[in-house]
Amino acid sequence: MESFALLFDGFSLATQPANLVYAAIGVIIGTAVGVLPGIGPALTVALLLPVTFKLDPGGSIIMFAGIYYGGMYGGSTTAILLNTPGESASVVTALEGNRMARSGRGGPALATAAIGSFVAALIATIALAFLAPLLVKIAVKFAPWDYFGLMLIAFVTVSATFGSSPLRGLTSLAFGLWLGLMGIDQLTGQARLTFGVPELLDGIEVTTLAVGLFAIGEALVVASRHLYKPEKPIPIKGSIWMSMEDWARSWKPWLRGTAIGFPIGALPAGGAEIPTFLSYNIERKLSRKSEEFGSGAIEGVAGPEAANNASAAGTLVPLLTLGLPTSATAAVMLAGFQQYNIQPGPLLFAQHADLVWGLVASLFIANVMLLVLNLPLIGLWVRLLAIPLPWLYAGILVFASMGTIAANPSVVELLLLTGFGVVGFLMRRYDYPIAPAVVGLILGPLADNALRRSLQMSLGDPMVFLQHPSSAIMTGIASIALVAPFIFKGLSRFQQDED
């Protein structure tokens, strides 16, 4: 096989001592910056990209791979320990991960995230190396109507994050949808709900909403309770390492998460968030201890984290084969390639085979190094929780607001962040789940665009969703998933809850 020979060449490039050092540096600074609350992988990579410009292309790409994976991993650390996801793809990780951390199981949560990310990235990188040219042919066939079908499935699965009351869960989701309307409509250029504020024309940043609702809202809640029932997170209870049971409960979610994450990540408009919702929902359904969901189930960390990382590798498929960046992080990577006058696209594999395989090999190396470096660090990260509460939360607010200013230095953005913090506080106080709002903001515009693009291409004929087999199947799955439980128990559950 020619691919194996090329991959071997790639490895011989990536394992040169100097390149190993670059990989290690990349992983360390990627983790160090990514672990700051409110600073997600995209910003981490954007900030650190210039550092790599000073190296030769090979060394730079290798360091870059390290930064990329390090930033991804650092992002989930803060989501788990501090309930402050720095990006939308780790919102789901925060759901169960933070519950675990609060009950002293932060160590196993971080470990399952790290190993799950490793496993997922390993499998996904292999898939990237050998399936990319094939996958991309399927991926470009995905038309707007197919995306709409996928969005419908994603919407149905969101109900897994609703918590005790469908009414309150739906309200939270609707809030996200409403925020998603804001800004210039991509299809027609019409501004919606901008109230004459130019800063709103680009819509609401998902990161601003996630950081506001989670980080700022969390700080407000903890502060408001501090006097009455002081809540001190327990740094460690029991072993810091994963138990046999943790392993037994984690490995299947890792594999399932990978299987969901990689193909959706490879879609030109798939993204990293949808696989995490789908994975969370599936693990909740399949877990033998589904009652633990909501109070710290390890499957709920293992699956979504694997899905998140697998989709990150998946986004490299359209990036390398089409030159099409499908996430903010990938867009920054594209800029990195262009610095070296390398244009990712259909000819990349032919014209720059050495660089492509060097990148694949360095992704492997970075992945191994991340695991080696970070497993011992888990003990240290968990110690973050031992910082006295006043300084811990003061630090979180400083970093969270800095992350927002760094992405967009405007007072309006800070006001939005604060506003979302207050909303997050009120939602927690009155028992509204927070995650659906973030989900609504992500899915709303995607579904809106997919629906209206489809209808524009079909000249207004709604049958377009049923005429294509792929979208008809997905629409069917979504309707069955929506209607079936509703008929059986949905109505009674709705009433029970309000009684």
């Binding site: 600074i29 000073k54 707007p144 696209g345 240290l380 910082i387």
Partner: protein, 323 residues
């Protein structure tokens, strides 16, 4: 927290050792700030950072800082610039045709005619393509297809009201159809639209040539024409003008100073920019980036901005995006 910072410090040390050597000291004392009215990674950001690099390397300025002010196609950045850079001798703005369109369709109170044009820098051609399996072989056949049923001729391209949309409207008009009837499906940018082209969901697509260059060269897309007025070396597709259509549209970018900058301040900035764009280093950079040189000095650029503003206004009106 202490250990945490040790990592930060380490990053700092590594960063500083790597960053050293890139900066050379110059004789001239200009300390400039360039506003890129877009987020990191886009075309204006890239142009701003390229200017920064070359200005510092050639000694056209002592120090240059780039500030990103993203938002609303650049109108947020422009509004801020108009306010803060008034008569300021050390502030620059990088912008282009997209901002002309965005100011009009967003009904922004500010537009590019309010700032002081310094120089037009680059101008990239747009390209009109069809999928490789399409029966359409030439631009004339595309015009016939549009004429036969304008609604079924599905265009894909970048955001509504942007340069891609404008070109699609011009071509539709040239086919003898009402541009307001155009079926233009807007995507966030050339990348997303590319997937729709490769998937065969559209009749024709428009994007910057560079963005689709790979697919055109590999034969996955068939380029029918470019929108540049003259043929470009290395690009096989012929200009629309050479194929009998009187249409030209260039995705230009330029650099501006604040409102009311005049006299010695303006001359100093003009001289600095001129020194930059005539340097070999700038030419190398354009080549590396795949940008086409479209330099025009201050006065010529000023008339150009005014005429482009009128023209874009007229087209946007015809497609129902401006009143």
């Amino acid at each position: 927290m202490r250990n945490f910072f040790r990592h930060g410090l380490m990053a700092a040390i590594i960063g500083s050792s790597l960053a050293a050597g890139a900066i050379s000291v110059s004789a001239q004392g200009l300390e400039l700030t360039i506003t890129a009215p877009a987020g990191a990674g886009g075309g204006w950001d890239a142009a701003s950072r390229s200017l920064q690099e070359v200005m510092m390397a050639t000694g056209a300025a002592k120090s240059v800082q780039v500030v990103n002010v993203p938002g609303a196609g650049g109108t947020v950045g422009l509004a801020q610039f108009v306010g803060s850079a008034k008569s300021s001798p050390d502030q620059l703005l990088v912008a282009g045709i997209t901002l002309v369109g965005a100011s009009i369709s967003n009904k922004s109170p500010v537009d590019l005619t309010q700032v002081t044009p310094l120089a037009r820098l680059t101008g990239d051609p747009l390209v009109i393509v069809v999928p490789k399996d399409s029966p359409i072989q030439t631009i004339d056949e595309l015009l016939k297809t549009i004429k036969s049923d304008v609604a079924k001729a599905i265009w894909v391209g970048g955001s509504a009201g942007g340069a891609d949309h404008i070109l699609a409207a011009l071509v539709t008009q040239a086919a003898g159809e009402d541009p307001s009837k155009i079926n233009y499906v807007a995507y966030s940018g050339g990348g997303e639209a590319l997937a729709a082209m490769l998937g065969g969901q559209a009749t024709a697509g428009i994007s910057g040539y560079g963005e689709w260059q790979g697919q055109i060269e590999s034969g996955d897309l068939r380029a029918l024409a470019i929108s540049y007025p003259e043929p470009i070396e290395g690009i096989e597709a012929k200009p629309l003008k050479a194929q009998g259509l009187d249409i030209e549209l260039v995705n230009w970018r330029g650099v501006f100073a604040g409102p009311g900058v005049e006299g010695a301040d303006l001359e100093a900035l003009k001289a600095s920019i001129e020194k930059t764009v005539t340097s070999d280093r700038w030419k190398e950079l354009l080549k590396a980036r795949g940008w086409t040189d479209y330099y025009a000095p201050s006065d010529e650029f000023k008339t150009f901005v005014a005429s482009e503003t009128d023209r874009v206004q007229g087209i946007l009106k015809s497609i129902g995006l401006a009143d």
